[in-house]
Symmetry: C2
Subunit: 186 residues, 2 copies
DNA sequence: AGCATATGCCAACGCCTGTTGACTTTCGCA
DNA sequence: TGCGAAAGTCAACAGGCGTTGGCATATGCT
């Protein structure tokens, strides 16, 4: 009885929900379509998750899983961080869900803020970085912009980049946002 | 008869449409709400613009209006470009409309691609920049990411930046994307 | 003034949405 | 084998949507 019958249905619903929310955004992803993908009745979605909003909340759970940065050499911080973010991005489509929905859904926006400010800032504090909030914000602009162009807009030159090329291009940017003295020039 | 009565209604509809599309995104911005904002009947919107899609197409017209970059000193390119983009952003909310809608609306996404690849790339070509497409794409990631965090997500540390501070932070990034040799470090 | 045309309003349509409640089937345990 | 609960099905609801066509009003020209 460790695995009940209903658990698999719940999981199927959640997987379908993530796919639809990620592909269509919050409003265009309908309960009916999600249910059809999971091959069950729309009413089951309501029984298991209560409402579309609660289903979304469950589908948008995310942890950026930052590694410990305090023992990384200062001059490799950018590369390490960028590589982690990009790889985290591609192994888990939840961030694509958030990106696609945060634009019109306040709950998604709040969760995104929580990830990028609430999780990045304290990690930077622990790594003894000054002005951790501003730096977290700046890094968010580059990381989210990259994801937006690569996965949502699908700009050809950005889609074409390999992970290594992307790391090589973005690494120095992230590094500078992380370590450069306040408003600086080049 | 240079200015007919209907022209003002058309303009009122377009202004209301821009506001709603920019605030709510494509699907949540309803014809009825736009018409209410413009203080006219929903049927008028159809009469003047034919359909919601065509209204959107009219509301999302945008030109990035890049200045001529060929006579700007190489070491000021980043600052100049960033300042232009940010100021262009804030004087015209059409880009916010695009940003809010490109996520779920293919027409908006296509227009955004046209702006950032179709307008940036040839300008870089004229300024004798090598690999203009990749560089345009990279600059798009940083510019759009900044706008996304500042105007859509409203991340506090990014919202709090003044224009000058933003230029100081992003300028070197854009400059590097514009001039650094291919995949580089530092 | 009188008429044609431009402008605007109203009511309704067909469709799709999230959500609900009642009903049927399946399963696990005594 | 029975019985109760869990799991799944079905049809319908109320409301919002884009869109349409018919009708009233205002406008401008002769």
């Amino acid at each position: 009885m460790a695995e009940k019958k209903s658990d698999r249905t719940r999981a199927a619903i959640l997987a379908a929900a993530r796919e639809r929310f990620g592909a269509d955004g919050y409003e265009r992803a309908t309960i009916r379509a999600i249910a059809a993908d999971a091959a069950i009745d729309p009413a089951m979605v309501m029984r298991y998750y209560g409402s579309k909003e609660k289903l979304f909340a469950a589908a948008a759970e995310f942890d950026v899983r930052l590694p410990d940065l305090s023992d990384v050499p200062r001059d490799q911080l950018g590369q390490v961080l960028v590589r982690h973010l990009i790889e985290r991005w591609e192994e888990d489509d939840t961030l694509q869900v958030l990106l696609r929905t945060a634009v019109t859904n306040e709950a998604a926006a709040e969760r995104m803020r929580q990830v990028f400010i609430g999780q990045l800032t304290p990690a930077f504090e622990r790594a003894a970085v000054d002005q951790p909030a501003v730096r977290a914000g700046l890094i968010a602009t580059q990381a989210l912009g990259f994801a937006f162009c690569r996965y949502i807009l699908e700009l050809e030159p950005i889609v074409a980049l390999s992970t290594d090329e992307a790391v090589a291009w973005l690494g120095p940017t992230i590094a500078r946002y992380l370590t450069a003295p306040s408003p600086s020039q080049a």
